[in-house]
Symmetry: D2
Subunit: 308 residues, 4 copies
């Protein structure tokens, strides 16, 4: 009997391809359901935002229950996301706080997190349900914005916390203090603070290094820095970062988490960024290889001997 | 009474400025010596390669003993290096194996390791001898070159292990396996594998990130990679790296450790690179700040508010 | 007698330092005026936006006339700007259309265009008025935004034309056609199209090359491109560039000229960018060296022999 | 009747794939020969280094003549190269001096110059022989090495002139003077001076910009510069560059042209680099697109609309 008795289902909205894959997932879970013994109490929970797209799917005996994402977080012991890394990030920030592991089925572009191809749904899910999978724990970042010492906003990010100029394209001035020591003073278009998970996303476009997902480290990557000798900086994941937005900025810069949550800042605001207390657990099919994904997703070449 | 009873002295050769500073160091140690009680048994050991430059220095009671660098490693509980990071690197690979902590006095150019200015010799050394200092432990890398399974050379590096083409400027082809997984297959001018200590040295020129010295991580930085989507990669310091030199290279590439030890390779050779069992302990004056050093050495700007 | 009989004066607003320098400039021009023969008809024209700051300056015989920047363009045969490159850029876009040469006195930060230091006002201006100067002609870019074939906005830039995402931090998708050939298809934070003059400004922060001011070339520099193999591209200054903003962008991207003029775009808009018919003429004191400015402004090191 | 009456044939040595394609080229030329009228005097000249590989090819009436590459340069009005860009570069430096246009058939890896695929030999050659082709003129660089004012070596490059450290991996110190003005003083692994043709080759790996082949410009790209604010520099193709190798280098650096011709230098040597008086003419099939080649060779993505 599988260890996963309550399985949640989340998908990117407004995508026929996602709906098609959701159907396959449901059919697969339903079939597995029937093959269970009578003692089975597997329950399927569907995110209410996508349940309308699934009408008419006959799941046999059990059917499914709908609810909002927090109900899924409370009830499920596994959540399956169908979509791209964007859908995964959005669900991850919730599931991490409930400690629910996730699986990603790729219907999007890049897919470092969503690493199951849609045509491998049945094979991969049956493996995972049978307990055959690899676990990858990912830490997240939390960001707290303080104005005159009072918190005016907070967010969390599995990939990154980004400072960017918001409405204008003017360079920002900001300071960074790391573990209490003044570190980095910059004029730049912004700053990306990335986890290893985020190191293959936006931070990579801005010149940051690739960090192995298991690394306990954070990368600080300035965007288009005015000072030509600025370089990406990698510090411990336990570092306490304090970003202070320069007083003489004429704009309202924005702190974005995973490019999805946004906090509007003002000159003089402080942003405290540190490792989030919650971690996300991602399940991968056996034989998942981070570097293989780098090669295929990032366009690295094949073996040296194949280059000739 | 100081905890350091046997102090070694090493310096860059053929440099009048270094000799001048060595005199100040000796005078300072000698003075400290006299101020010790009768129970003091502080002994000063001077690297035989520089002792000739020190003739005529009157150290009072104790004088000093000369010997080779390994004798210093065996006898001393602190070694002072006067020179640049090059002198420090050279001594560090020996002292790490004897577990002897080091202090660096800067008479060279960059000085991330040699962080005491020559005019602060007395103030800094008396602090350190009085037990007031900060400790920074640095891990090192070991490299073993195998040909048909047999080791043909080995080396160690505090900064980096570098693969480069040696006599020609032809691109090299090589594979990298990390913890048994095929990772990176490249055609490039070479590859820099750097510790956090080395991340502010050669690896930085080649586009690698700056890593905080306390980080347990290794950076792999390809040099002028043919594949434009290659990027620096940061992995755990516990990772086991295996570099295989492509069979179709027409040259004899070289593995260099800290730019000082060299092993000539051949196509097909394997290079195993991992964390060295020995660590180097560096002592710094109190108030030593890594980021401050970055700002002054790398040309980062001052406070955001000063930029206007 | 000088060839410059009508001299305009423009300055950055709200800056006491600029006002102080403007006084020195006026005093210097007034003195030169008195030394002229009776035939002299030198007239001084002051930008009306700064004339209020100059009250109480006694220019002796001639005094000065105030007017808007276009009057200065029509009447003057030399315009002096006191401020930073920002002030210079703003005036340059007007003066280029009137064919009036400019001189820049630096009270700002970088100063590739404003290359006279405030304490050299008298020496430099008297040289220039005496006809001793170097001429540097700079081409500009024009940008025309078309929506369904109709022009909805236009602008010009001495430094650059920049596509950026405006209110959001979402990546943009866009195509570029060069001289009718499809060239570059990108997802990125934006694109900088820079003249040689602009190559040491924003484009440099984004990884573009430095181009000598005399070069007839345009650089296209993608900002944080999603595709890791994207690189800056340099084409002839006569190239006709057409940028098409992808249909599926969910935001209203902005075209900015010199960071000062802005046109709000929509998905599907076309932006035609080409060399502007007008050129800006900048006068420099004799001995002006572009590379010397690079060294001092960009932090390049001194002679190789000084590095040891 | 074709304008090309004397056609030379050059190929990469020791490559069965090249021999196969050479046979197809000969057959194609022979057939075209037969179809000519009696007035035709088309003569085929084969590089003596590859003629041995072509035994047994029956070219009908005319057969072919063998000779060294200089004879081909003197006799031919078109030379066809079968191989990679390396073969093309090697032949180009000779043919440019004889003013003979070239065509490249790709049996190698990259192929910015050799842009005819082997399976399009017949279609492309018949087009070209019929006078339907595009012309691309490429300028080259010449390098002269002077020691104490006396020339000790010279070379020419279609792609680039490269300064590199030769036997060691030590950083080099060097100065650059451009048109008599001190420009660039660097400590680096070396320097690449590239034509537009070479801008998509080695210089691109070192971070240089892509330059359109028609641009009259030269890029100077430092390799792994010690100074983090060094950047690629683009100057006029008419610029006179003088590179001086620092006196305190402990090694014998090397000047390489196209990675094929090498001159061993010593500290203090001067290297004069300027546009070569000869130009290479490359013929391309109609519809040849530089940017299309960038997209396919460099891994740029497709249309913005395809990225979603």
């Amino acid at each position: 009997m599988s260890q996963f008795n309550n399985i949640g289902l989340i998908g990117r909205l407004h995508s026929p391809a996602v709906v098609e894959t959701l159907h396959r997932v449901l059919a697969c879970l339903s079939l597995a359901h029937e093959q269970n013994t009578k003692q089975s109490r597997r329950q399927i929970w569907v995110d209410e935002r996508i349940s309308g797209s699934l009408d008419g799917v006959d799941l046999g005996v059990g059917q499914y229950t709908t609810g909002d994402i927090h109900l899924l977080g409370q009830q499920c012991d596994l959540v399956i996301v169908v979509g791209g890394d964007g859908s995964m990030l959005s669900a991850a920030r919730v599931m991490a706080t409930y400690g629910v592991p996730m699986i990603g089925i790729n219907r999007g572009k890049l897919g470092f997190l969503t690493d199951i191809a849609p045509d491998q749904v049945e094979a991969s899910l049956s493996q995972v349900l049978a307990g055959e999978y690899e676990v990858s724990d990912r830490f997240m970042l939390s960001a707290h914005v303080l104005r005159n010492g009072t918190e005016i906003g907070r967010g969390s990010g599995l990939n990154d916390v980004v400072l960017h100029p918001g409405q204008s394209a003017r360079m920002l001035a900001f300071d960074i203090t790391i573990d209490g020591a003044p570190a980095y003073f910059a004029r730049a278009d912004g700053l990306i603070i990335a986890t290893p998970t985020g190191s293959t996303a936006y931070a990579l476009s801005a010149g940051g290094p690739i960090m192995h997902p298991s690394l306990d480290a954070i990368a600080l990557v300035p965007m288009n820095p005015h000072n030509l000798s600025s370089r990406p900086l990698v510090v411990s994941a336990d570092a306490e970062l304090e970003l202070r937005i320069g007083d003489d900025n004429s704009t309202q810069p924005i702190i974005s988490c995973d490019g999805q949550e946004h906090i509007v800042c003002e000159p003089g605001d402080q942003v405290l960024i540190r490792r989030h207390e919650a971690r996300l657990r991602v399940l991968h099919p056996l034989g998942h290889h981070f570097y293989q994904r780098c090669r295929s997703k990032l366009g690295w070449q094949g073996r040296a001997s194949e280059d000739g």
